[in-house]
Amino acid sequence: MSRLLALLRRETALAWGGGGGPLVAVGFYAGVVTMLPLAIGPDLERLAGIAPAAAFVALALASLLSLERMFERDYEDGALDLLTLSPTPLEAVAAIKSIAQWIAAGAPLAIAAPIAAIALGASPQHAGLTFVTAALGGLAFAFVGGTGAALALGARRGALLTAVIVLPLFAPPVIFGAGALQAAANGLAWTSGLLLLAGYTLAAAALGPVAMAAACRNALS
């Protein structure tokens, strides 16, 4: 257990610091959200209609940013070889890495998401739901995205390849998360969307580490 905690501390410190932490992710997120009114027009009523959806799309894009650093750095400096040799199974290492990724990028983005949605004209009474869906969705993005990042290890143009692999897989959490927010904004039942999102996130957390570990072993072979 202490080994896992030490690993979590190391991964979080690496993901948080070194110029790729929450500031970059939130800055990118704010940039994308700012582009929307500039492209669509400042009419707040029109923006309010797409506010939850826009907040979620920007979240998915911002989650892509730091994926490349999840495994690539450890792969290049040999730390991944050492982690493979440690008694901790590689699956647990992959899960810890995904959680650290979420702490450094997903959680700050989840805090920024309701602010962005309100700025785009969404009702403040759904801020709590926006935070919960963004946090859950961000966790799914971290586990699914980590799978893509591990698969792209050792490939040419790894970052771009990761985005191409991962974006189609981001579709279900985006559908469920934005669907729940959209339903809440229209005064409809939103629990089913939230539950489906939670289910998807749990499935990603259960299956993602297995795929990540297999991909890492393959890249190191």
Binding site: G154, A155, R157, P168, L169, P172, A219, S221
Partner: protein, 242 residues
């Protein structure tokens, strides 16, 4: 491994089998497609859709192939991952571009059908979107295979990705139930029997079989090409060494 697959796992036996099977499947596909198209074009017009209902005979089998090829790709990937068999990997690699083409065909013909029937080329309903996602996923698989130079590593990475993507297939299948929208629900495979009249069901079934046979033929040809490519590479290496 099932006995039939174990028999074909030997590359020499596979080459001997596919040499005859590939053209046979091709001929079968042509015959079935001719029969299916003949029945399709002589079928009476639909009372609502008129002549455009005939697009169905091209569109629906393509959409079915989009998922069927993915099942083949995932199955071959599974065998390649578990048994580390080069032929299984060649099968997975060969299936992906075919699947992408069938998926693109389904999207294009669906769009051509949507223009007169729904009055729009494209609607963002769940099933169309999930087929588009499937298409993007085929592209991602092909891109990953192309980006890793090492043959064995590329094979395993591709196999893992294909199995990860297999989670997407149920989403494609059940998205119709999750979302209610413009796209009509399932009308062929239902518990209470098909709701389509036999006049349309026959050409549709024949075309589905024709598409499947065409895929079988093209798949075998492409796997053979992969095997020849490997043999040519090995021969070139041997010629360079000795």
């Amino acid at each position: 491994m099932p006995p039939a697959l174990a028999f074909l796992a030997n590359p020499d036996r596979f080459m001997a089998f596919s040499r005859w099977a590939a053209p046979m499947f091709g001929i079968l596909a042509v015959v079935l497609a001719c029969a299916g198209l003949w029945l399709g074009f002589t079928a009476p017009e639909d009372y609502q859709q008129g002549d455009t209902v005939r697009i169905m005979f091209i569109h629906v089998p393509a959409a079915y192939m989009a998922t069927f090829v993915y099942v083949c790709l995932a199955g071959a990937s599974f065998l390649s991952l578990v048994f580390r068999h080069a032929l299984a990997d060649a099968a997975a690699k060969a299936a992906a571009p075919l699947g992408a083409v069938f998926t693109a065909l389904a999207l294009i013909t669906g769009s051509l059908w949507g223009a007169p029937m729904w009055g729009t080329w494209w609607v963002w309903d769940a099933r169309l979107t999930s087929v588009l996602v499937l298409f993007l996923f085929y592209l991602a698989y092909i891109a990953l295979r192309g980006a890793i130079d090492d043959e064995a590593r590329s094979a395993r990475a591709g196999a893992i990705l294909a199995l990860v993507g297999a989670i997407n297939l149920p989403v494609v299948k059940f998205s119709v139930d999750w979302w209610n929208s413009l796209h009509q629900g399932a009308s062929v495979f239902r518990a209470d029997g098909p709701t389509m009249s036999a006049v349309y069901l026959w050409p549709l079934g024949l075309m589905a079989l024709a598409y499947t046979a065409a895929f079988g033929s093209l798949w075998l040809v492409r796997i053979r090409a992969e095997v020849w490519k490997k043999r040519a590479g090995a021969a070139a290496l041997a010629a360079a060494v000795f």
